[in-house]
């Protein structure tokens, strides 16, 4: 079965320290993968996407993600967290046609 698993429901970091949000996928196909961010009372905003080009994908606001086929992972990272990064993050897989699978989300807390 196709699935997206975000390994942490909550992540807490201090401002200025690195961020790592983990995502594993399971798919019969080579998927397109996305990370979205959702700030409180807002819609989801696309951070970055992987569509079988470069395995290291750079997104907005200093985020990047690396596609590792051998590990079926697409972890999101940022070298230095900012207070404005506090939000919920969703890993999403598009496996074919309209089969879009959302992870359950990871809430990122950033401490001053």
């Amino acid at each position: 079965a196709q699935s997206v698993t975000q390994l942490d429901s909550h992540v807490s970091v201090s401002e200025g320290t690195p961020v790592l949000l983990r995502c594993n996928y399971s798919s019969s196909y080579s998927p397109s993968l996305f990370w979205y961010v959702q700030h409180p009372n807002k819609g989801l905003q696309l951070l970055l996407k992987y569509t079988s080009a470069a395995t290291l994908v750079k997104g907005i606001n200093g985020f990047e993600a690396e596609f590792k086929k051998s590990e079926t992972s697409f972890h999101l990272t940022k070298p230095s967290a900012h207070m404005s990064d506090a939000a919920e993050y969703f890993c999403v897989a598009l496996t074919g046609g309209f089969k879009t699978i959302f992870g359950a989300g990871t809430r990122l807390f950033v401490k001053a």
């Binding site: 979205y36 819609g43 989801l44 598009l94 309209f98 959302f102």
Partner: protein, 113 residues
């Protein structure tokens, strides 16, 4: 969110009443989607449209219907609202079959009492 608006932003309705949510886009995108977001479930697809008058069901379509009579508008109707339909509803658009990612609206918070 630029190019896509949802109305109303908030609504409280009584069980058994019909409710229509509207999604309006100015991007001329072919594909439009309705999702619901609930704690612990992430986002789940209700219905989607791939053109005017062309719609199909998603994974949680029971109790919902949609219509798309113009490219820019995608309506979601709850024929007889139930408390289990209390949720935040998001509309999304995409230029192609989602390979470029979605643009989401700001959401409609619906409470059924």
């Amino acid at each position: 969110d630029a190019g896509i608006t949802q109305s109303p932003r908030h609504k409280v309705t009584e069980t058994g009443t019909p409710v229509t949510l509207r999604c309006h886009q100015t991007e001329n995108h072919r594909y439009m989607y309705w999702y619901r977001q609930d704690p612990g479930h992430g986002l789940r697809l209700i219905h989607y449209s791939y053109g005017v008058k062309d719609t199909d069901k998603g994974e949680v379509s029971d109790g919902y219907s949609v219509s798309r009579s113009k490219t820019e508008d995608f309506l979601l109707t709850l024929e007889s609202a139930t408390s289990s339909q209390t949720s935040v509803y998001f509309c999304a658009i995409s230029e192609s079959a989602a390979n470029y990612g979605y643009t989401f609206g700001s959401g409609t918070r619906l409470t059924v009492v």
